[in-house]
C-alpha cells in the first residue's frame, strides 16, 4: 500500500474555492484525505512548507508530432516535458503526419501515451478529413474511442458551410470544437503582425482582422447550434470583445491564451528573429492590455501553451520560410506567473483555475476527477514553489524542441513535484522528501 503525505502546503483547489494550509494524504493512487494529518510510518513525506499544492496542471493545447517522420517530438518526450513543467494532463492536437482523423489513429496515440507512462494524454481529433476543410472527419468514431475535442488546429475551418457541419456534428457527440481562428484569404504569404515593423522589414503582414472575422462568424453560426466552441490562442485585443459579448449572451464560448502572446510583441520579430515567428503572430502592447483585461474579467478562462517543437534548422532559415511556434510546456508556469501574477492581473487561485478546473471542464475530463482535489479522486497533483528563482535554459528541456524565445530569461515559480495517479513523476526538491516517520 503506497502512501505519500504532502505536508503543510497551501492547498488550492480552485474548482471549489478551497485555499487553506493543509496536508494531503495520497493512498493507492487516490487522494485519501485533505486536512491536518499526523505523520505515519507508512507514508513517504514531502515537505510543502511555503509551496502551493494544486490539482495537476492541464494544458489542452500541445503538439506531440507523432506520428511524423521528422520526429520533432514524440508522445513520450512531450509527455515527459509536460511532467517537467508541472502538467499532469495534456491534450494533443491532430496536425500530425498523417493527421489524427480516425478512431485507429486516436487509439495509436493513446497507446503511445500508455507506454510512455508520464503525463496523461488526451487526444483532440481532426474536425475534417485530413484537415483539408472539405468534408467531415470520422468525428463520431473518434469520440467513441475517447477523443475529447475536435480541431483542425494549424489550419482554420475556413469554409462557412463546412464550419456549420462541424459545429453540428461535434455538438451531437457532446464534445468541444477548438478553432484555429485565421481567415486564410487575409494571410496569404503573411509571417508577422501587419504594421510598421512588417512594412519596414518587407514582410507580408498578418492582420488581427483575420482572427476577429472568424470568431465573429463562428459565434454567429453557433448561435442556433450551441456547440461548445473554443477559440484557441487569442492574439488580438478586439477578439476579446467578441468573446465577451458571446459569453454575455450565454453562448458556450471559451477562449485560451498563451504565454508568448502576453509577454512578447511584434517588436520581437525585428532583425528577422524567427524565434518570435508565431501563428497567430505576436501583436502589440495594446493587444496585450486587452488580453489581460479579458483574463482579469473572466472572458478568457484557459491558459494554454501551444507547445510546438521544431528542429532548429526549421528556425534557422529566413523569416518567411521559418516554422511557426515555440515550445511551451517547460516554461509556461513561471511565464504566466510573470505575465499575470507579478503584474497583478489575477491571483494564484484564479490562475490555477485557468490551468486546472476550467480546461478539465471544457474537454469533459472533470468527470474523471481531473482538474480538482477530491477525496477519493485520482491523485494528480502539482507542488509549486512560487518563490523559486531560476533561469529558463532551452538546452535542458526534456522536449527535443529548443525553439524558445525565453531562453535565458530569469523567472520565478516552478513545479517542484509532479504526481500522476499517486506516482511522483518528477521531484525537483529532494531536500523536501522524507521517509515515513
Amino acid at each position: 500500500m503506497s502512501q505519500i503525505l504532502i505536508q503543510g502546503g497551501r492547498v488550492i483547489d480552485p474548482g471549489r474555492g478551497f485555499d487553506q494550509t493543509a496536508d494531503v494524504l495520497i493512498r493507492d493512487g487516490v487522494i485519501a484525505e485533505i486536512g491536518s494529518i499526523p505523520p505515519s510510518n507508512q507514508a513517504k513525506r514531502i515537505d510543502a512548507d511555503g509551496c502551493i499544492v494544486a490539482p495537476g496542471l492541464i494544458d489542452i493545447h500541445v503538439h506531440l508530432r507523432e506520428p511524423d517522420p521528422e520526429h520533432d517530438e514524440t508522445v513520450a518526450s512531450g509527455a515527459a516535458a509536460a511532467i517537467e513543467g508541472g502538467f499532469t494532463t495534456i491534450c494533443c492536437m491532430p496536425n500530425t503526419h498523417p493527421p489524427i482523423d480516425t478512431a485507429e489513429m486516436v487509439e495509436f496515440v493513446q497507446h503511445k501515451a500508455e507506454q510512455a507512462n508520464r503525463a496523461r494524454v488526451f487526444v483532440v481529433g481532426c474536425a475534417t478529413h485530413q484537415r483539408r476543410g472539405e468534408r467531415l472527419a470520422a468525428i463520431r468514431s473518434m469520440a467513441e474511442v475517447g477523443a475529447v475535442a475536435f480541431s483542425d488546429d494549424g489550419d482554420c475551418v475556413a469554409d462557412a458551410s463546412m464550419m456549420d457541419h462541424v459545429l453540428r456534428t461535434v455538438h451531437e457527440v457532446d464534445r468541444c470544437f477548438m478553432q484555429h481562428c485565421q481567415e486564410p484569404t487575409l494571410t496569404n504569404g503573411a509571417s508577422m503582425n501587419a504594421g510598421v515593423t512588417a512594412t519596414r522589414l518587407g514582410l507580408v503582414g498578418w492582420p488581427a482582422m483575420a482572427e476577429e472575422l472568424i470568431i465573429e462568424r463562428d459565434v454567429r453560426l453557433n448561435r442556433s447550434i450551441g456547440c461548445r466552441y473554443h477559440a484557441q490562442h487569442l492574439s488580438s485585443g478586439d477578439s476579446v470583445q467578441i468573446i465577451r459579448r458571446a459569453r454575455t449572451e450565454g453562448q458556450p464560448v471559451t477562449a485560451e491564451i498563451t504565454p508568448h502572446h502576453l509577454l512578447l510583441t511584434e517588436d520581437a520579430c525585428d532583425g528577422y528573429n524567427t524565434m518570435a515567428k508565431m501563428n497567430p503572430p505576436l501583436r502589440t502592447a495594446g493587444d496585450i492590455a486587452q488580453l489581460k483585461a479579458g483574463i482579469a474579467d473572466g472572458t478568457i478562462t484557459i491558459l494554454g501553451t501551444d507547445h510546438a517543437p521544431h528542429p532548429l534548422h526549421r528556425k534557422q532559415t529566413d523569416f518567411a520560410d521559418a516554422a511557426f511556434g515555440i515550445v511551451g510546456l517547460e516554461s509556461a508556469l513561471p511565464l504566466y506567473v510573470k505575465a499575470l501574477i507579478e503584474d497583478g492581473v489575477i491571483d494564484w487561485p484564479q490562475m490555477l483555475a485557468m490551468m486546472t478546473a476550467n480546461p478539465a471542464q471544457l474537454v469533459g475530463i472533470d468527470r474523471l476527477g481531473l482538474g480538482s482535489l477530491t477525496v477519493g479522486g485520482p491523485a494528480d497533483l502539482t507542488v509549486i514553489d512560487p518563490e523559486l528563482q531560476w533561469t529558463i535554459l532551452a538546452e535542458e528541456f526534456a522536449s527535443p524542441g529548443r525553439n524558445c524565445p525565453f531562453d535565458g530569461w530569469q523567472v520565478k515559480g516552478r513545479a517542484i513535484v509532479t504526481i500522476v495517479a499517486g506516482h511522483p513523476r518528477q521531484h525537483r526538491a529532494p531536500e523536501r522528501a522524507g521517509a515515513g516517520a
Binding site: 512594412t199 519596414r200 522589414l201 518587407g202 529566413d318
Partner: protein, 313 residues
C-alpha cells in the same frame, strides 16, 4: 546577434546607415566613374580577391553589374544562380552560403526571394555580405544608384522632394530609396493606390526627411523635384489588388510628364513596363529620363561598395 547597420564589412540595408557613410560611398562612386566605364584598364585594388554572386532569384542586370564592378577592381568572380546552385536540391540557404565561403570567397553578393536572407547569412559567415535585393525588404546598391543619379542632377539633397510612384508595398527599391533619401534630408511622397501604398510607410524612416503617403498623382506632379516610377510586381500580389484603371490613374504619360517641373528628372529602376507605369516616349526622353544614367552609375556604385566592404578585411 543581428549584424549592425554600421558594420562596414557588410552592406545589408540603407536603413541605419549614417549620413556620412552614404555621402562617402557616393563620393567614392563618383571618383570611380571613369574606371567603371571601362575606358581605362581595370584597377588592381581587389586583385586576388574572389567575389561570389549568390543569386537565389533570377536577375541579369544586377548580377552582371556586380560582376563588372568586381572585374574592374581586379577581383575574380564566382557565379551561382538559383537553378545551378544546390539550393534547388534542398540544401538550406545557410549550408549553401557556408559551402561557398569555404571555397575561399571574400564577399558574397546575395539576391533572395525572401526578406532577411542576406542578414541571416551575414550572421553565419566570416566573409563580407552585400545585399543585392532581398524580397520586399531592401536593395541598397540600387538605392545608392538612385541617390547618385539625383546628386548629379540636384547637387544637394536637402530642401528637395521626390515622388515615388506605384507598387511601393512590394518594392525593395522603394524601401532603400526611402531610407537613403530621408537620411540625407529629402522628403519622400509615396504615391499609388492604397492597396499598394499602405500608410505604415509613413513611420518606417527615422528622418530628417519625411515620408508622406498620397493617392493622387496628378495633384503632386508640379510639387516634386524628381519622380521615380516603379514596376508593378504582379507576381507579388493577389490578382485582385491592381485595378483596371491603374494605368489611367498612375501611369506616367506624356501629358503627365509635361506637368512636372522642367528640371525634375524621371527615374525608374528597371525593368520598365513600357505603356504601363510609364510611356515609351517619357522613358526615352533624353532631357528628362535618367534611366540610362542609373544603369551607368550602377557599376561605379557597386565598385564603391565592394571596395568599402573588402577594405575591412
Amino acid at each position: 546577434m543581428p549584424v549592425a547597420a554600421t558594420d562596414r564589412r557588410h552592406l545589408l540595408a540603407l536603413e541605419g546607415l549614417p549620413q556620412g557613410e552614404i555621402l562617402t560611398l557616393l563620393e567614392v562612386a563618383t571618383s570611380l566613374r571613369e574606371a567603371a566605364s571601362g575606358r581605362i584598364s581595370p584597377l588592381d585594388r581587389l586583385a586576388g580577391r574572389v567575389i561570389g554572386n549568390l543569386f537565389f532569384e533570377d536577375s541579369t542586370r544586377t548580377r552582371h553589374s556586380f560582376s563588372l564592378a568586381a572585374i574592374r577592381l581586379g577581383a575574380d568572380t564566382l557565379d551561382l544562380t538559383g537553378r545551378a546552385s544546390s539550393v534547388s536540391k534542398g540544401e538550406t540557404l545557410l549550408d549553401t552560403a557556408r559551402t561557398i565561403e569555404a571555397m575561399g570567397v571574400d564577399a558574397l553578393v546575395i539576391r533572395s526571394r525572401e526578406a532577411g536572407v542576406p542578414a541571416m547569412i551575414a550572421e553565419a559567415v566570416e566573409c563580407s555580405v552585400i545585399n543585392a535585393g532581398d524580397g520586399r525588404h531592401e536593395h541598397p546598391t540600387q538605392g545608392l544608384i538612385d541617390l547618385l543619379t539625383l546628386q548629379q542632377r540636384w547637387g544637394d539633397f536637402t530642401d528637395h522632394r521626390i515622388a515615388i510612384v506605384g507598387d511601393i508595398a512590394a518594392s525593395r527599391v522603394a524601401r532603400s530609396a526611402i531610407h537613403g533619401l530621408t537620411t540625407l534630408g529629402t522628403d519622400v511622397l509615396l504615391v499609388g493606390p492604397s492597396t499598394l501604398v499602405p500608410r505604415t510607410f509613413e513611420q518606417i524612416a527615422a528622418g530628417p526627411g519625411r515620408v508622406t503617403v498620397g493617392h493622387d498623382l496628378d495633384e503632386i506632379l508640379p510639387q516634386v523635384d524628381a519622380i521615380m516610377m516603379l514596376r508593378v510586381q504582379f507576381e507579388r500580389h493577389s490578382p485582385g489588388a491592381i485595378a483596371d484603371d491603374y494605368r489611367a490613374r498612375y501611369g506616367l504619360t506624356q501629358a503627365r510628364a509635361s506637368r512636372l517641373q522642367p528640371n525634375a528628372p524621371i527615374l525608374h529602376p528597371g525593368p520598365v513596363n513600357r505603356g504601363l507605369e510609364i510611356d515609351a516616349e517619357v522613358a526615352d526622353d533624353p532631357e528628362r529620363s535618367v534611366i540610362l544614367d542609373q544603369v551607368a552609375n550602377g557599376v561605379a556604385v557597386r565598385m564603391a561598395v565592394l571596395s568599402r566592404c573588402l577594405a575591412q578585411r
